[in-house]
């Protein structure tokens, strides 16, 4: 607990700013010893809506950034995270992790950001195609971002789990609203400071902490969210409920577990196929 000698109130990260909840709710969160480790702003439905708006606003710009630039920014996230290892280990410990596990968690998070940083300018080559149609046409399939993705991060892997789900979403040009671990909220909310100092455009990634049980259905209900990543949802009934709720605007719903394959990023990409005649 030594790293938290002057406990701060942890704020949400929305639209590139650190905000208190619109609801004014601030919850004390207990550390492993049962005493209050710190206070955390608790996201409301209105905060979630504001985060979706911020993500929607940021999406075209982030998608239009060159893959080279997106890759450098994701790598910058890894650098900034790596430079603050000690603080994150402390905060993960405050969230209930053992020291060794916390160190491994930070290391795994850095590794995930680096892995996906290298994919930004390769997805189109690996997931796209030139299709040999039976006629005088050039026919090309390319991946495009789905849009705004709601991410339910795993509660038990607050930093690496979040990285493994968020990085592939950002990699392909989507923007995200992340429901971070409510059990261990300190590290993921401080991670907002990493994002804020990594040249990631404001609103491209938004971090909320609150009652995931309440917030996730609102995310699934939201008409301006295009896809959900629900790897952090552990119970069967909640996963089904989110799928049912996603039907109204036919959200894409994926549960990748952050698997290291370009198809993980592909879950949040749409294949567009363009035909053009090639004849005189």
């Amino acid at each position: 607990m030594s790293g938290l000698g002057a406990p701060k109130t942890y704020k949400l990260y929305v639209g590139g700013a650190f905000i208190r909840s619109e609801s004014g709710r601030v919850a004390p969160v207990a550390g492993p010893d049962g005493t209050v480790a710190a206070r955390v702003c608790e996201a409301s439905r209105k905060d979630l809506r504001d985060a979706v708006t911020a993500a929607r606003t940021a999406q075209p710009g982030w998608a239009a950034a060159t893959p080279y630039l997106r890759g450098q920014i994701l790598y910058r996230v890894a650098e900034m995270l790596d430079g603050r290892q000690e603080q994150f280990i402390d905060e993960l410990e405050a969230g209930g992790m053992q020291t060794d596990d916390a160190a491994a968690e930070v290391e795994a998070a850095v590794d995930a950001w680096i892995w996906w940083a290298g994919w930004t300018d390769k997805l189109a080559q690996v997931l796209g195609a030139v299709n040999p149609v039976a006629g005088p046409f050039l026919n090309v399939s390319t991946p495009e971002p789905t849009g705004v993705v709601g991410v339910v991060a795993p509660a038990d892997r607050p930093l690496a789990g979040l990285a493994e789900l968020l990085a592939p979403v950002l990699c392909g040009g989507n923007t995200a609203v992340v429901l971070a671990s409510e059990l261990s909220p300190f590290a993921p909310l401080t991670f907002g400071e990493v994002l804020a100092t990594s040249d990631l455009p404001a609103g491209a990634a938004n971090l909320l902490v609150g009652s995931t049980k309440d917030l996730a259905p609102w995310l699934a209900d939201h008409h301006d969210v295009d896809a959900l990543e629900i790897s952090g949802v552990t119970d069967e009934a909640s996963a089904r409920d989110l799928l049912v709720r996603s039907a109204h605007n036919l959200k894409r719903v994926a549960r990748t577990d952050g698997a290291r394959t370009p198809r993980t990023a592909g879950e949040f990409l749409e294949i567009k196929t363009v035909w053009h005649p090639a004849r005189l």
């Binding site: 299709n131 399939s141 295009d226 049912v244 894409r252 698997a259 196929t273 363009v274």
Partner: protein, 531 residues
């Protein structure tokens, strides 16, 4: 255009002395060129196709199949109950576990190659039957539907033993199990091929439900499956209406549901598969924008727009049904389009000269009429071809709305008929804004001679397929499918295979088979894809 049969023309009218007007009448006198029906033999009754055999539905239930061009009942077809669907799913499961899954990939491929060949050999028969059963012009079923159906089997036949190379990364993909496939009435045999070929190539077995109004070509296909020695139960066909489809889509014994149809039904199936845990791909509705810039080759663009909306009576999910004309050429373009529309020949689907055949069903005709009435009531101007319509059967003239408000119902809702709505724009940015102002995202078209503008537009149109300086082209190697509320997943090419494969280590979960109360966790077969 004239109704005169050649025999009705008086000999005197053919004399050169009869003068110019008579010569003109003779020139325009229409001689039909009907395709013979004799190549097909339509039976009075058709059964379900389960485990390699034709079988009655439970209790002998049947429904009537009606020829849209005449309104005549041409056959009675078994109406599958939930119990019949159970039988079909069980047959597919058994075939999956006892023969198909463990068959060598190259043997799977050989079955598909043979199916492709046999479709080619019986192409004329399929084309005629398709036009009788569904109402589409013989020219289209002969030149588009049937050749593409054969091509889909041929293309996917080659994939069967090459799947390990399809996705890289050393991932060996595996089949899912039993695929439930529900297809629409607008391209009956072609949609059956789009669904069956990739499913089988990837090692799955199939229960297919054709649309209620168009079952016959799928049932004819069973003769070919038998001839190709496909093991019993690998493909099963359950005919019926919405209740049959619901029983299949919600069945807990299927691992995968693939649906092509309306967005509304797609949502229902999404909710249903959330409960069963089956994987899902959806190919749904559209209201695709067709954008024409002032520098486009105008006559080619007119032909492209004609092909976009009046192909297959406009019963096309990706029909270019919203015409967006750059303001400076709108008047000239519409004038040419109206003239071209007048020349379209509406009538007997079996006539080789027919451009627009019969509307598929009375219900669909009623919907087209209703939406056109709405358009007129909303203040848009309706121009229809003056062509004479046959006095029996279900027909609707090619129609064009101008002065359409972007938020009006006809500009927003899918009409699924030969009805085009037209609007204008000034700048490329406005064209994109209007084109994308729809919850759908299936297809789009753009006509311009400016190459940079083509690519700029293609990048911004929210659509799974963009046809630039062409429209309504299809190919088995080319992924097809929508963004947003037009569904998810692709059909065709390498991308289409993913819908029928799983990757990574198998996950735990209850074995699938018969109805399992509660069902497994969503995505239990494969964590990755809940779609």
């Amino acid at each position: 255009m004239s109704d005169l049969e050649p025999s009705e023309i008086e000999p005197s009218e053919l004399e050169p002395s009869a003068g110019l007007s008579a010569a003109a009448a003779t020139f325009s006198a229409y001689a039909p060129a009907p395709e013979s029906r004799s190549i097909v033999s339509i039976r009075d009754r058709y059964g379900l196709w389960i485990d390699g055999e034709s079988t009655d539905a439970e209790g002998g239930a049947t429904f009537a199949s009606i020829e849209p061009a005449t309104g005549d009942v041409i056959a009675r077809i078994a109406d599958a109950s939930a119990a019949d669907v159970d039988r079909a799913v069980l047959a597919a499961r058994t075939a999956y576990e006892t023969t198909w899954r463990d068959l060598s990939p190259s043997a799977r491929g050989r079955h598909l190659f043979r199916i492709a060949r046999l479709i080619q050999e019986r192409a004329r028969e399929f084309a005629v039957l398709e036009s009788i059963d569904g109402g589409k012009p013989i020219r289209e079923s002969r030149d588009v539907d049937v050749p593409l159906a054969a091509a889909h089997f041929f293309h996917h036949a080659g994939w069967a033993d090459k799947l390990d190379w399809a996705f890289g990364g050393g991932e060996s993909p595996r089949p899912l199990g039993v695929a439930a496939q529900i297809i629409p009435w607008n391209f009956p045999l072609l949609m059956a091929s789009w669904k069956i070929a990739p499913a089988l190539a990837c090692g799955n077995t199939v229960v297919l439900k054709p649309a209620e109004t168009t079952s016959l070509t799928a049932l004819l296909l069973t003769e070919i499956l038998t001839e190709a020695d496909l093991p019993p139960g690998v493909v099963n066909i359950v005919t019926g209406g919405a209740a049959t489809g619901a029983a299949l889509a919600t069945h807990r014994g299927v691992d995968k549901v693939a649906f092509t149809g309306s967005t509304e039904v797609g949502r229902t199936i999404r909710r249903a598969t959330a409960m069963t845990g089956a994987r899902l791909t959806l190919e749904l509705g559209g209201k695709s924008a067709h954008v024409v810039f002032d520098d486009a080759p105008i006559d080619q663009a007119v032909e492209g727009v004609v092909r976009g909306i009046w192909f297959n009576q406009g019963h096309v999910c990706c029909a270019g049904s919203r015409l967006l004309l750059q303001e400076s050429i709108a008047e000239e373009f519409l004038e040419k389009l109206r003239r071209r529309m007048e020349l379209l020949r509406v009538g007997d689907p079996l006539d080789n000269n027919t451009d627009i055949g019969a509307v598929n069903s009375e219900e669909q005709l009623a919907r087209i009429r209703e939406l056109c009435a709405v358009g007129v009531a909303e203040g848009a101007e309706l121009v229809q071809s003056g062509c004479e319509l046959p006095d029996r059967g279900w027909f609707f003239p090619p129609s064009l709305f101008t002065g359409v408000d972007t938020s009006s119902r006809i500009a927003v809702e899918e009409i699924f008929g030969p009805v085009l709505v037209s609007m204008t724009f000034r700048t490329p940015e406005e064209a994109i804004a209007k084109a994308n102002a729809t919850p759908y995202g299936l297809a789009a078209g753009v006509w311009t001679a400016n190459g940079a503008r083509i690519l700029w537009m293609a990048q911004r149109l929210r659509a799974g397929v963009v046809w630039a300086n062409t429209y309504n082209q299809f190919d088995p190697t080319s992924p097809f499918g929508g963004m947003r509320e037009s569904g998810f997943g692709r059909e065709g090419g390498r991308h289409g295979l993913e819908a029928y494969l799983q990757f990574g280590p198998p996950r735990g979960g209850p074995p699938r088979g018969g109805p399992v109360p509660g069902g497994p966790l969503p995505g239990s077969g494969d964590r990755r894809a809940l779609r």
